[in-house]
Amino acid sequence: MTTEAKIKPKVAFFDFTSCEGCQLNKLNLENDLLDILEHIDIVEFREAMDDKAEEYDIAFIEGSISTPSCVERIHDIRRRSKMLIALGACATQGGINAMKNLHPIEEVRETVYGDDKYLFPTLPAMPISAIVKVDYKIDGCPMSMPEFLKVLKSLLAGQEPIKPDSAVCVECKLKENECVFDKGMVCLGPITRGGCDAICPSFGQFCTGCRGLISNPNKNAMLEILTEHGISLDEAKKRILLFNSYDHSQSLPK
């Protein structure tokens, strides 16, 4: 219980293939923004500022890796960062981008660019951890703000944040929501990693699985639940893959 001397860590934000909603979500912390700036020095944030820096204590990465130049850039950032944190589904698990991996992209590309397709090289969409070491992941699409704040506070206090590994249903029940299955919907909450405070079910909508699945998810049981609630197996698989194509497209039963 000692107070450490205050040296503000250098923090940078980078974006790769994404909608940049996570960046925006950070700016939506209006009430806390100035307090946060008391503790950190933002040295690079392309969306909001011109400055650039050489080294970072914490680099927050948004977006997926989807081109060869992304690969180069993320290696470079990793080299210059003490701690690298993936922000949001695109960065932590490929997110919605990885849905493109399910389609014959080469052919699609050819239709758009014809013979020039090699001008615009593309790779399958990948999470950051597919290329470099990631020290921590903040899940969600958009990344969950309570989790972002929690992780940031933990890091600033010199701690290692603990990753939640229980389902969205837990937070849903703590809030005493009516289960959306009882409203006639199907929900991925039972196997989706919590930490979002069950925000979608709390607003009457089904969980889309944007935070990735808990460890050891019982996917077969989940598919059974979905199909028993009236959607086809094919639809059920698509639903699970909405945000989880990168991690789980291979492991679902054919």
């Binding site: 229980s166 703590l174 005493e176 019982n218 049981a221």
Partner: protein, 351 residues
């Protein structure tokens, strides 16, 4: 026992009468088909004819989330979480939920009696209400008769015009005192609902089944369908396991030590640093959950610790039924240990 008649249209004024004496909590509609206990603001939105609430009244004594301490790192000081000192009246509680409160009373007062629970729990009065069992209720099968009034101060038994008000305790007498609109109980016989027994064995025979239940096949079978979401734990009125976590606020100097409901079906529940997880599989976790309801505490107290509310079954998205689990245990027990048909209790015909 004193009895009065309370007609449906007198209910709001009765609730107003209660509100003068304390904070009243009662079931309200929630969402499309559900109910929840809420603080009563408007007596007209209280719903006494309901199947079950999402959470039981447990949430008022063991809140889903609570600050155990608030602390300051700067000077190493802390304060305990505070408990509101208010008189609480719980209106419209079903008998099984009342029983669950009594069971929690035991859990929180034996061993180390816990201030947080007990402080919140004192100054509570309970007004029960009768209910019509649905497909999930099986409280009678675990020894809680439909019109069990233990724990209640007043019990409302529905009849064709409203409710027969039964005054159970002195406290109940005081609660109704001054409400002059009740009339003497009419001689209307209340709706006598037949409770179908759903457990294959009478509850007092379950200990012998659970003696042999450790290696039953049902655990593996159920775990194939279970997704480990923990819903069954969290909605259970007699589950009380919790997690504790420190949360700093943005000053990084002050914060709170918080506890929240936890569940033994969840991944990290029995995991320790270094990677060992003492209940790795969903089968082991199901076994533990059901044993906590029917064996571990029951061996000491002689009562099932499940009150038959049916929540874990009604709210399990995978459709796993605790009644079916127990019945399958009975079957397995019969096959493997008895080799003869079960001696069925008096009114324990199988559903």
């Amino acid at each position: 026992m004193k009895k009065y008649q309370l007609n449906n249209k007198q209910l709001p004024s009765f609730i107003d009468h209660l509100k003068k004496q304390g904070t009243v909590f009662a079931p309200h509609k929630k969402g499309d088909t559900s109910y929840s206990f809420e603080k009563v603001e408007n007596p007209n939105s209280v719903v006494l004819d309901y199947n079950r609430t999402l959470n039981s009244v447990k949430k008022y004594f063991l809140p889903p989330r609570e600050h155990l301490l608030s602390f300051s790192k700067t000077d190493n000081s802390f304060r305990k979480g505070s408990f509101k000192n208010e008189k609480k009246i719980f209106l419209g509680v079903h008998s099984y939920d009342m029983k669950a409160v009594l069971k929690l009373d035991y859990n929180f007062s034996q061993g180390n009696p816990e201030e947080n629970y007990l402080q919140r729990r004192k100054d509570s009065s309970f007004i029960g209400v009768s209910f019509i069992p649905d497909e999930f209720h099986f409280s009678q099968s675990v020894g809680i008769p439909l019109h069990d009034t233990e724990g209640f101060d007043i019990y409302l038994e529905q009849n064709s015009d409203g409710y027969t008000v039964k005054i159970i305790t002195e406290k109940g007498e005081k609660l109704i005192d001054g409400f002059d609109r009740v009339s003497k109980a009419k001689d209307i016989s209340s709706n006598h609902v037949q409770f179908q027994n759903k457990l294959k064995y009478n509850y007092n025979r379950l200990p012998e089944v659970f003696e042999q239940s450790w290696n039953a096949a049902v655990w593996e079978e159920v775990s194939k369908k279970c997704v480990g979401c923990g819903t069954c734990n969290l909605v259970c009125p007699t589950c009380y396991c919790f997690d504790v976590e420190d949360n700093l606020d943005l000053s990084l100097q002050t914060g709170t030590r918080d506890r929240s409901w936890d569940g033994c079906m969840l991944n990290g529940f029995a995991a320790v640093a270094g990677g060992e997880n003492f209940r790795e599989t969903l089968a082991e976790r199901q076994r533990h959950r059901v044993h906590r309801k029917f064996k571990y505490i029951s061996d000491i107290t002689g009562e099932p610790w499940c009150v038959g509310c049916g929540r874990c079954t009604a709210y399990c998205t995978a459709g796993i039924s605790i009644v079916e689990i127990v019945n399958q245990l009975c079957d397995e027990y019969e096959q493997n240990y008895l080799n003869r048909p079960a001696v069925v209790g008096l009114n324990a015909e199988r559903l």
